[in-house]
């Protein structure tokens, strides 16, 4: 009956690119693909999976709202004899047939190293985070670890800025409170782009550098054109989506697939 | 003082009550005796209801002593007051429209079985209460579907549904017509003969003289005097109450323009065969400039419905001519624009915005007159006009900015009147314009009505008080169960003929 995919959200370019890649690959491979959007609500994700089970799909692809809570959905599917593949965020406490995702911690470390490089190993840095999302927590942890290796660098403020508007206000206020900040790490493109706007509004373009994560087109363009945006950690949702569908097709056909299929993020800096 | 103190059941001495800076009661006293009807008489805002609410445990007195059967009496809530032997029928309707009559009457006292409400017993008990009181109400009907008068009867049933030593009736007849009032008087007679003390509040002098044993007059929150009914006259009481003598209750007609009002002039308003399903049918009448056309009928005879239809609130078939031209109003806004004014019968619901100032309420219907270029309000003109009305109608208010809701009932009624006077209507509909208004204020309102008529306003006066209709009207339309009973004028205008048509014994 095809593949059912339950995705975390549809309001973020990363997931849109992921979904588009999946749809394209499904068309290529000529399999039916249905996409449900959990809208960041784990309960809705569970309901979506339950509804897939009733519909009788062959394989379910999940990008979990939460690594731990997704266990319920995975167990339900397996009870019904349906194999599950996770993308982007891994599942804890339940085994899935395969996981395809970015190594967020490594990505965070790369961001920290890039920050140290552009700031010449010294200076005060701020972070815009989203503490309820595990993959973001991993990124920020990686970033912190990399910064900690440099004794003359310090993280002076961490604020939550989930939407672009919130991130803009958070960045403005952090800059106001700590005018000697020289670097800002945004947990995602939205946060970084908002931080760049705040830097410009505060007239600190020559002082503050911004690094983002995700690397969607808007952010890559900004890196190319805006000197404040010095770089962005680039994920590859297109690869992820394609690979997820390929894996699902193989699983449906009874083939063996590797349990872990990590996708290492890249570092995108100005050309 | 008179009478032996031994049969005093309720004794109030030196009670004061203030709401913030307003002193509603200053040094109030009252001795209420078993088996007697004690009437409390005072102008609007004198503090009668406030005193009763203190007795009922709704308010607590600021200072003073009250004893019930020689025991200190200080209820903190209505349930406690009831348990101590006090029953009250409140002036302002205190019913829940979303529940049935039975549920309202027995609220918080529902019969129970295994802790659950027994609905059958509830209805049965309510039926027996209503039957015992002789009230014509269906207890399974929702209160929201009843007319104001019927709700008043429910209120009475609710207040009197349990045994009490003292029964308080705060203006129970203000929205009743005579036949329902008679039922109430019967009930009061039975209570008296059982030795119950009744505190009675009313502004209708005839019924006060008929019912009372003792009469206490209060003025501005202060005790004035207590009298045995047999020792006083209406005139004397009124003088005590308003602080001056009043010769007449109804002002004489003013015939300023009597020469111009002749029968061959076209009427200002001509209504033909106005009909609305299940409410009224084939209503036809005319009213001329300067004429006061009375509308009498028993409660629920459909007078208010007819007026609502005339005013564009409800659809009805038939024709309405204003100054000879056919009109059809789809909203009150259109009716007002063509010179119709409507003093509605329920001032709290349809008349006033209680939370807003006296000024805003008075200018409300005439707002277009106070609107200048670009829609700006003309503040000073508005204020001047409102002040003039307050002065003309002698409205007792601390300032124009006082919220209308904090005025006494009679003064609120005058504000509603003032609101419509400002629109300078050609036709003014008055639906129970003196409901709950004291005699002094009534006289003022009557004078204003006469004055308006003299200035050429055509007036439709609806009233359930027969003396009022007789005293004020040039002609009287009598309605009975939604149809027109008769239009009476001249020598036909007697209480007997009117009642005969109203009750349908003659048609």
């Amino acid at each position: 009956e095809g593949i059912g995919a339950s995705l975390l959200t549809q309001q973020h370019p990363f997931y849109i690119e992921l979904a588009d890649a999946m749809k394209a690959e499904a068309k290529e491979k000529n399999v039916a693909l249905e996409v449900a959007i959990a809208n960041q609500d784990l309960n809705k994700q569970l309901a979506d999976v339950e509804d897939f089970i009733v519909k009788g799909v062959d394989v379910i692809v999940i990008s979990p709202v939460d690594s731990q809570g997704v266990r319920a959905a995975i167990e339900k599917a397996e009870k019904a004899g349906i194999k599950v593949i996770t993308v982007d965020v891994p599942a804890n406490g339940a085994t899935v047939t395969s996981h395809i995702g970015t190594d967020n911690f490594t990505g965070g470390v790369k961001a920290g190293e890039l920050m140290a490089k552009v700031l010449e190993n010294k200076g005060k840095v701020a972070v815009i985070d989203y503490p309820t999302v595990q993959s973001v927590v991993n990124r920020v942890n990686g970033f912190k670890e990399a910064i900690a290796k440099h004794p003359e660098m310090e993280i002076v403020a961490i604020q939550t800025g989930i939407t672009r508007a919130e991130a803009l206000a958070a960045a403005q206020n952090m800059l106001q409170a700590n005018p000697d900040i020289t670097g800002i790490f945004g947990f995602g493109d939205d946060a970084a782009l908002a931080a760049a706007v705040a830097v410009k509004a505060a007239g600190l373009e020559s002082q503050v550098k911004v690094i983002g994560f995700d690397g969607m087109k808007e952010a890559r363009d900004a890196v190319d054109t805006n000197p404040v945006m010095v770089g962005v950690i680039q994920q590859f949702p297109d690869q992820m989506g394609k690979q997820a569908v390929d894996t699902a097709v193989k699983v449906a056909a009874g083939e063996q697939v590797p349990a872990e299929q990590p996708i290492v993020p890249g570092v995108y800096t100005a050309k | 003082m008179h009478g032996s103190t031994t049969d005093t059941v309720l004794k109030i001495s030196n009670v004061t009550k203030s709401f913030g800076q307003i002193a509603a009661l200053k040094s109030m006293r009252l001795d209420v005796r078993r088996g007697r009807v004690h009437t409390l008489l005072g102008e609007n805002g004198a503090g009668k209801s406030t005193l009763m609410k203190i007795l009922a445990g709704v308010h607590s007195a600021t200072s003073g002593d009250i004893t019930l059967d020689n025991q200190p009496y200080r209820p903190t809530n209505p349930q406690q007051a009831a348990a101590l032997g006090l029953a009250i029928v409140f002036q302002e309707l205190s019913l829940c429209n979303n529940l049935t009559v039975a549920e309202n009457i027995l609220a918080t006292r529902e019969p129970r079985k295994f802790g659950f409400i027994n609905d059958k017993a509830l209805v049965a008990r309510a039926r027996s209460i209503v039957a015992e009181l002789g009230l014509p109400i269906d207890v399974t009907e929702k209160v929201g579907n009843l007319s104001i008068a019927q709700r008043q009867l429910v209120e009475i049933a609710k207040g009197l549904s349990h045994e009490a030593k003292v029964v308080i009736l705060d203006e129970p007849t203000s929205s009743l017509s005579d036949s329902e009032a008679e039922i109430l008087f019967d009930i009061i007679g039975r209570l008296k003969s059982r030795g119950v003390a009744v505190i009675y509040i009313s502004h209708r002098m005839e019924e006060i003289m008929r019912l009372s044993d003792d009469i206490t007059v209060i003025r501005d929150g202060e005790y004035v005097s207590t009298h045995d009914r047999n020792d006083v006259t209406i005139e004397a009481l009124i003088a005590l109450m308003v602080g001056r003598r009043m010769e007449e209750i109804y002002p004489p007609p003013i015939h300023v323009r009597s020469t111009e009002i002749t029968s061959d002039q076209p009427p200002v308003l001509a209504v033909e065969r106005l009909t609305r399903d299940e409410e009224f049918a084939d209503i036809s009448f005319t009213v001329g400039a300067g004429e006061i056309l009375g509308f009498f009928g028993l409660v629920g005879s459909g007078r208010s419905e007819v007026m609502n239809a005339l005013f564009g609130m409800k659809n009805a078939s038939g024709t309405v001519r204003l100054d000879g031209k056919e009109v059809r109003f789809r909203s009150p806004a259109e009716a007002i624009a063509r010179g119709i004014g409507f003093v509605t019968e329920n001032r709290k619901e349809e008349g006033l915005v209680l939370g807003h100032s006296v000024e805003w309420n008075i200018s409300m219907a005439a707002l277009p007159d106070f609107t200048g270029p670009f829609g700006f309000t003309r503040g000073s003109a508005e204020r001047k006009a409102a002040a003039a009305e307050v002065g003309r109608l002698a409205i007792k208010t601390r300032s124009l900015d006082t919220p209308a809701g904090s005025l006494s009932g009679g003064n609120q009624q005058k504000i509603v009147l003032a609101k419509w006077l400002l629109t300078r209507p050609k036709v003014l509909i008055l639906d129970e314009p003196t409901r709950g208004v004291d005699v002094g204020a009534k006289f003022e309102i009557y004078k204003i009505i006469r004055q308006l008529a003299a200035e050429g306003t055509a007036i439709l006066l609806i009233s359930s008080e027969l003396p009022e209709v007789l005293g004020m009207s040039d002609r009287v339309v009598v309605m009975h169960e939604g149809v027109l009973g008769a239009t009476l004028a001249g020598t036909d205008l007697t209480p007997e003929t009117i009642m005969a048509h109203a009750t349908g014994f003659q048609s």
């Binding site: 309960n43 | 209505p78 349930q79 429209n97 659950f116």
Partner: protein, 320 residues
């Protein structure tokens, strides 16, 4: 009157009372089964009931609050706190019983705070519960700093996953709570007082009802119902999520209002609320079954709410 005609009369009355809304529910079911044959299956109805349980139970509590003419926007946050309290209890080493008790008491306390602020300080409940919505949502994140907490108690998680007498346990919970709420509302003096107070607060005071106490208790009921919702939700998810129940208060309000509860107070029933919740559940499930994209689902859901409330308002007007 024979027993049969009494039953018939009751049916006619029920149809009159719930006609508009019941019609909407039936229509939705018919449309969906027409469009997808798998919709009409026992398994799927079990699914729907389980999916709607969390909203339905919160909506029972909300019905009480709205009946009083008040509103409780903190329900979604209480749902989240309840799950987290449960998780922390287990982390603390408590057993199932004590943990459940602590969770429910926590719900009652949060409801009590809403009630006291509304009744005693005379603040509008809308603003009180907007504020506590934020406060409770903040509290839920403190123990884990925003991260979800695992729940490793087998009994707790069994509620959301196991069956009893061939019916999923969750459905039993909903059924029992529905019956209790329905009986208390329609058959006890307490319920009658809620109707009276919601219909005319002044009249209630004059009738000797202790309105403040009533209000506080009713907010506590809402808190407890939300806490039970939170227990079910966390047991379904094996974990307490800090963003659990976000904006569920709106679904709960929608369920109650769809079911004929008047936001002005004084009018409403649990039967109506249950039907309202089912409409929301059927809609969500049916659209998923038809693979309607998420944004279109938002639009359709809004339209269905509008049409259903409109049908209901019209039916009630026609009745008069």
């Amino acid at each position: 009157m024979t027993q049969q005609t009494a039953a018939q009369a009751a049916l006619v009355r029920a149809l009159k009372q719930y006609g508009g809304i019941f019609l909407s529910l039936v229509m939705l079911c018919v449309i969906f089964s027409f469009l997808n044959p798998r919709f009409m299956s026992v398994v799927n109805f079990m699914n729907i009931l389980q999916q709607v349980a969390v909203i339905a139970i919160a909506a029972f509590g909300m019905t009480w609050v709205i009946l009083l003419g008040e509103i409780d926007l903190s329900v979604g946050s209480i749902i989240a706190v309840a799950g987290m309290v449960g998780a922390q209890c287990f982390a603390f080493g408590l057993g199932f019983g004590p943990a459940l008790a602590v969770t429910i008491v926590a719900g009652a306390l949060m409801g009590m705070l809403n009630g006291v602020l509304t009744a005693k300080l005379l603040l509008p409940s809308f603003i009180v519960t907007v504020a506590t919505m934020g406060i409770y949502r903040g509290l839920v994140s403190l123990p884990t700093n925003g991260a979800p907490a695992m729940i490793d108690n087998a009994t707790w998680t069994a509620i959301g996953t196991e069956s009893f007498l061939r019916l999923p346990t969750i459905i039993w919970v909903v059924a029992v709570l529905f019956v209790i709420n329905q009986i208390v509302l329609s058959k006890t003096s307490f319920g009658r007082r809620a109707y009276l107070t919601g219909g005319n607060r002044e009249a209630a005071v004059y009738s000797g009802i202790k309105v403040d106490r009533l209000k506080i208790i009713i907010f506590m009921i809402s808190g407890v119902m939300a806490a039970i919702s939170g227990v079910l939700l966390s047991s379904r998810l094996f974990s307490a999520q800090t963003n659990a129940g976000m904006s569920y208060e709106l679904d709960a309000i929608a369920a109650a209002v769809l079911g004929g509860t008047s936001l002005a107070g004084g009018v409403g029933t649990m039967v109506g609320t249950l039907i309202g919740a089912l409409i929301i559940g059927v809609m969500n499930n049916g659209m998923n079954m038809l693979s309607i994209p998420y944004f279109y689902q938002l639009i359709v859901k809004g339209l269905v709410i509008l049409v259903a409330v409109w049908l209901d308002v019209r039916a009630k007007q026609a009745k008069r």
